[in-house]
């Protein structure tokens, strides 16, 4: 895959926004890959957690917001507790979801769910799903 890294991307206000909302300093990542090595969700991801951090450093907004990965992460915090640089990767991924959800781009459409589907799972599953995947 060819990736164009340009100065214009590096000045993208998106980078600052991700850092501010996640409370993380993206530039301390040295790409050891420990987050991706331990992530239970990688088989359902198109951009791996360490790549998410690299893309965010470089301002690849569209690639990140269109990725499957941000909806495969269940915030299990394994990456956070293992990062040798103390980056909370789960917080960065949460912010990527939030950037979409705050524009009402819901991942789960509650009104399209049938009653049977809702009754099939306990309230703890529904509430956490709606909190994470809807605006």
């Amino acid at each position: 895959m060819r990736i164009n890294i340009s100065r214009k991307n590096r000045q993208n206000p998106f980078i600052e926004k991700v850092q501010e909302l996640s409370g993380q300093n993206l530039l301390v990542c040295y790409q050891c890959g420990k987050c991706s090595a331990g992530c239970p969700a990688v088989s359902n991801m198109d951009i791996l957690p360490n790549q998410i951090i690299r893309y965010a450093q470089l301002g690849f907004k569209d690639e990140l917001l269109e990725s499957k990965s941000i909806w495969a992460c269940a915030s299990c915090m394994t990456c956070n507790v293992r990062c040798p640089k103390g980056i909370n990767i789960a917080e960065v991924i949460e912010v990527l979801r939030q950037l979409l959800l705050r524009k009402r781009k819901d991942h789960v459409e509650v009104d399209k769910m049938t009653n049977a589907e809702k009754e099939d799972v306990p309230p703890i599953a529904l509430i956490s799903c709606f909190r994470k995947f809807t605006s």
Binding site: S22, S43, N44, A72, V81, N88, P122, A125
Partner: protein, 292 residues
């Protein structure tokens, strides 16, 4: 000892057996429990975005409910409630500006929250409040010969600042099961995420995880799994149905709340165990071991 108790949504329906067995066990241990009056949903997940203050209102309001019972300790047993309540509470303790904003949002509350409640998980209460040695003295029916795999999942142990045990190799459940007389079975996926709420939109992902986690438990020779989270319980127990469909070699195994086994060992009756609420029926193996 009297404890303020926050049940959370699922312990009143799908996980009624978690609540009933825990309350019976605490009663046998001589602990009086008082449920918070007018408690509200904690929100189930902690808000990870720095500016998302509104979602801390729900957990913090429960701290006020605890203060109204004249206590500064709040006990819960659901791992997700514990994680959300404790993390929001810790943020309020450290961040006076956010606490002010949250108090302003709850201007109709008579009590202002000062960050002075401590959130405890039932396991912490058993280990550090009642003490494990005192629990072991009250064991009436040891779980002789029962091989138990303890699954910790995510929210009980992570992140570092809230967990009361090691993040990579927690042992508190295994210790408790051992003192109840069971044989703890170690397995490599005890802190691997079950997929949590992805169960709503992607049950097939849960099937993959359940196959991996339960498959490992079975390979290690365990007879039952214990958990402390109603969502883990749902994914590892109810989702065995879809797991079996996708992975025909998958072997079923009962999944229980740790409190149900604790309650059995402390002499609670079957009425307090809610053993009929499971997808994979735990009664045959418990009968075989002479425990019910």
């Amino acid at each position: 000892m009297k404890l303020a108790y926050f049940p959370g949504c699922t312990l009143k329906n799908h996980a009624k057996n978690f609540e009933d067995s825990a309350l019976c066990a605490l009663n046998k241990l001589g602990v009086e429990v008082e449920e918070l009056h007018r408690w509200n949903c904690c929100g189930t997940v902690f808000s990870l975005a720095t500016d998302d203050l509104i979602h801390h209102v729900a957990p913090v309001r429960n701290m006020i409910r605890a203060k109204e019972l004249n206590t500064d300790k709040l006990m819960t047993m659901c791992a997700m409630c514990y994680n959300t309540l404790k993390r929001s509470n810790e943020r309020m303790k450290k961040d006076a500006e956010s606490l002010d904003i949250i108090n302003d949002l709850m201007y109709e509350e008579e009590v202002k929250y000062k960050g002075d409640v401590e959130v405890l998980h039932l396991l912490e209460v058993l280990r550090d409040g009642i003490h494990f040695t005192a629990v072991s003295e009250k064991i009436k029916t040891p779980l002789q010969g029962l091989k138990v795999a303890s699954y910790y999942g995510c929210y009980l142990v992570r992140p570092k600042e809230i967990g009361f045990d090691n993040q990579e190799n927690p042992t508190i459940l295994d210790e408790l099961m051992a003192l109840c007389g069971a044989t703890p079975i170690d397995f490599p996926y005890k802190v691997e995420c079950c997929g949590a709420y992805l169960t709503v939109d992607k049950p097939e992902i849960i099937a993959e995880r359940t196959n991996q986690i339960i498959g490992s438990v079975v390979k290690k020779g365990a007879e039952v799994v214990v958990v402390s989270c109603p969502l883990c319980a749902f994914n590892l127990d109810q989702r065995q149905k879809v797991t079996k469909k996708i992975f025909p070699d998958f072997k079923n195994i009962p999944v229980l709340y740790f409190t149900q086994l604790l309650a059995i060992s402390l002499g609670c009756s079957e009425n307090d165990l809610g053993l009929n609420l499971h997808h994979i029926d735990p009664r045959p193996i418990l009968k075989e071991k002479g425990l019910i």
